[in-house]
């Protein structure tokens, strides 16, 4: 009679029973939620573009998606999304890296002031280097930029102070930093504003220890202003648009997602108030045979997002929730889920700009 510890492990610990022999939609990698979210809990979101889906579904499911920077009612509804309202709890745009998150919190609380304040365009309009696409054509002038940033930071502080739950989706490890003071940009300078200058900016591919350190500092800062906030970390399943590493984008993506996944797990294991939610596994796991990616093998379909959020609600919602968004027909009459997802993701992902303007030849696989 064989006897070993695996015999007493539950079914979810076994690939065949938990994954291979399960219908795709019944695969559920979440075992136990560390805490529950009630409908009155203020939920703040930030992260890469995938995190925008979380915000959208939270709202649709009746959760209290806490937004502290709302558009003025005088403005046209049609312009709100273009101007970065409602994507996240405040108008910080996509926060792809742990470094960006840390510096956003520091800047909002007056603990870090980057030397590079803004980028001035030739027509006098102003770009915020730390949210370069938050307005379609930048800010009208320096006064508007400065006043808007003050309001924005106040909204960030308010969100941090009052939130009950913070959901942060880690997107990238590759980042561009200022050589002067280490300020982290969401997108390489020169792509969506500014002028690339190799004497001023440097590329860095963050390592596990960097990300853990950034997240721990972020957590400490949050706890200074909000001792009871709970944090949920997720990793975006969306592959890199482009890599600066001298390697194939596929291996660069694997590195990036692996590092983020390890860092998130490390934080969750060492902090009672931090949980990890497996968005990455739900979308990118081999069990789905790629069904949650659109034809570009990168864009997450509405069905995939719906599956992530269905499992999120199942495990984290304190009470039953309203149906989440599952059909493309809910969204402005687009024909297909792909169209819908593509429209949403492309509208808001700064990093998409990295692959604009490169020639077809550049996109060819380089010979080894």
């Amino acid at each position: 009679m064989v006897n070993h510890p695996y015999l007493r492990r539950p079914g979810y610990c076994f690939w065949r029973r938990a994954v291979a022999e399960m219908p795709v939609q019944e695969v559920d990698p979440v075992v136990l939620a560390k805490f529950k979210i009630s409908k009155s809990d203020k939920v703040v979101t930030a992260g890469s573009c995938f995190a925008q889906h979380i915000a959208r579904h939270l709202k649709a499911s009746g959760f209290n998606f806490y937004v502290t920077e709302t558009p003025h009612p005088f403005t046209s509804d049609l312009s709100h999304q273009q101007f970065g309202y409602g994507q996240f709890s405040a108008r910080y745009g996509n926060v792809y890296t742990s470094r960006q998150l840390l510096q956003l919190l520091q800047r909002a609380h007056g603990k870090f002031t980057p030397q590079e304040d803004f980028w001035m365009k030739q027509d006098g309009r102003v770009i915020d280097p730390f949210r370069p696409t938050i307005q379609p054509d930048g800010f009208a002038n320096e006064i508007e930029f400065d006043r808007d940033r003050q309001q924005h930071f106040a909204a960030v502080r308010q969100a941090i102070k009052n939130m009950d739950v913070f959901i942060f989706t880690l997107g990238l490890t590759e980042t561009w930093l200022s050589m002067e003071d280490g300020a982290a940009y969401p997108i390489c300078p020169g792509v969506s504003g500014g002028v690339f200058d190799e004497s001023r900016y440097r590329f860095e591919n963050l390592r596990v220890i960097d990300i853990i350190a950034d997240l721990e500092q972020s957590l400490d800062l949050i706890k200074q202003y909000n001792k009871t906030a709970k944090i949920i970390l997720t990793v975006s399943p969306v592959p890199l648009v482009a890599t600066m590493e001298d390697q194939n984008v596929l291996t660069a993506t694997t590195y990036s997602k692996s590092v983020l996944r390890v860092a998130a797990d490390e934080l969750a294991k060492t902090n009672e108030s931090v949980a990890y939610f497996p968005s990455y596994e739900i979308i990118a796991g081999t069990y789905s045979r790629g069904r949650y990616f659109a034809s570009d093998l990168r864009t997450v379909t509405e069905e995939g997002v719906g599956q992530v959020m269905r499992l999120f609600m199942r495990h984290y919602a304190l009470a039953p929730t309203a149906p989440s968004i599952t059909s493309s027909r809910d969204l402005r009459g687009h024909e297909t889920a792909f169209d819908v997802t593509e429209a949403i993701v492309k509208a808001m992902c700064d990093e998409e700009a990295l692959d604009v303007g490169t020639s077809q030849d550049d996109r060819q696989i380089q010979p080894i």
Binding site: F74, T75, L78, F83, N141, I143, E144, Q151
Partner: protein, 423 residues
């Protein structure tokens, strides 16, 4: 007795065929003819008081005459229905009119026997209205506001109308800001100075207000209404004087969620430090949305009728906030007015700088939309504003709308722009 007045009366008596203009506005000559039932002259005209008023004409006339009346009704909250106005000429009822907004009426007066030596016109207006009943500081029994009265021999009028029929015709379409040009046109008609034959189409009653959030919306059949009017009038050009309400409403009061914005071209108008900053581009987009809704209708109607469209800018705000607020309090004659008064009490009047900025944004949006839709834009006359861009106070009687003098300036601009295009 005033010597000048005696001379005037004598001159009239000498002529059996009368060509007489009585101006009821401040500085006018109406007092010499008024008998009973009149208030003192004001900038916009003289109110008839109570149920009846009358004037004495210095002679009779041997041939029929046209009596042209320029009058406006008294509109009060809840009392916006047309008022009855009966005209009696020497005990003979000659017209029974309904008056609401500014209007011009032509009435035929029959020839007289010559036995009376003078003539009397009596106006019966039983539906007078008392502002005090509506909480306003005015206890007069206001009936009809008389602006101008003209008497001319019928043969002269008919001859001139025949001439007018050969002049280019234009249709002016607008809301309340159109009144200044309408008055100016009437004056030019009187003086035979009209370069064009104008017809006015007021769309005021088509406004549907959706406070702050949704801007304007118009009846779905408006395009066909305007188009049909264009075709029936066979005009050479259309002048749009639509707009003005948006910048007026949005600029006059503090929003419940007080906001401000930069205008890059006007660094002298910085955003208020105690207001929420809204991105300039979003404000512009909102303004474009409002303006396009207005002008889009006109553009479609004119295009389908094959008529050239011009648009005249609405006047900018005045600098003086106190007077603006006083006038606003007097203007509680509509749902919009009452809503504005309610918000004024709750949120206060916006500063002049904010009013001007809202106007600048709407003016810019109007230019852009005109360019996009192929509409010729006619700016406000430069002489109508001060060096900062505020509307000169003497050109407005209520802090919002232009006077006849302003209308004359606008009319000149219109004539300059249209002159070479439709002659």
């Amino acid at each position: 007795m005033d010597i000048k007045k005696v001379g005037f009366l004598r001159r009239i008596r000498d002529h059996a065929d009368m060509d007489l203009t009585i101006d009821f506005r401040v500085g006018g000559n109406a007092k010499a003819f008024q008998k009973k039932g009149w208030s003192s002259p004001e900038v916009a005209g003289t109110w008839s008081i109570g149920p009846e008023s009358s004037i004495q004409l210095p002679s009779e006339f041997e041939e029929p005459h046209y009596l042209t009346l320029q009058v406006a009704g008294c509109v009060m909250p809840g009392q916006q229905a047309p008022q009855k106005l009966d005209v009696i000429f020497n005990n003979l009822a000659v017209a029974s009119l309904e008056v609401r907004a500014l209007a011009k009426f032509d009435i035929i007066l029959p020839a007289q026997s010559g036995e009376r030596g003078s003539s009397e016109i009596t106006f019966r207006h039983p539906e007078f209205r008392i502002p005090r009943d509506h909480g306003l500081p005015d206890s007069r029994k206001l009936a009809i506001n008389f602006k101008k009265l003209r008497l001319q021999p019928a043969s002269t009028v008919e001859k001139r109308e025949a001439e007018l029929r050969n002049r280019p015709q234009i249709l002016v379409v607008g809301q309340s800001h159109m009144a200044a040009v309408e008055q100016a046109t009437m004056q030019r008609d009187d003086d035979d100075q009209t370069a064009f034959r104008c017809e006015f189409l007021s769309l005021t009653s088509y406004d549907r207000w959706f406070w702050w959030k949704n801007g304007f919306q118009y009846d779905a059949d408006l395009v066909s209404k305007i188009r049909n009017r264009l075709l029936s009038f066979s005009c050479t050009a259309v002048i749009s004087m639509l707009g003005g309400n948006a910048h007026f409403v949005y600029g006059a009061l503090n929003h419940p969620r007080k906001f401000d914005f930069v205008v890059p071209s006007r660094p002298d108008l910085p955003p208020s430090p105690d207001a929420e900053l809204v991105p300039y581009d979003m404000i512009c987009e909102r303004a474009r949305y409002d303006v396009e809704a207005l002008l889009g209708i006109m553009e479609v109607a004119c295009k389908s009728a094959g008529v050239r469209l011009f648009h005249v800018s609405a006047p900018p705000p005045v600098l003086d906030s106190d007077t603006m607020v006083k006038n606003l309090l007097l203007a509680a004659n509509s749902e919009l007015g009452r809503k504005m008064q309610s918000d004024l009490t709750q949120f206060g009047a916006a500063p002049a700088e904010f009013r001007l900025k809202v106007w600048l944004i709407y003016s810019l949006a109007t230019r852009e939309v005109c360019r996009k839709l192929g509409i010729a834009f006619i700016d406000i006359p430069k002489a109508a504003v001060d060096d900062r861009g505020y509307f000169l106070p003497h050109l407005t009687s209520d802090s919002f709308h232009g006077t006849e003098a302003y209308g004359q300036m606008v009319l000149t601009e219109i004539e300059d722009r249209l002159g070479d295009k439709i002659s």
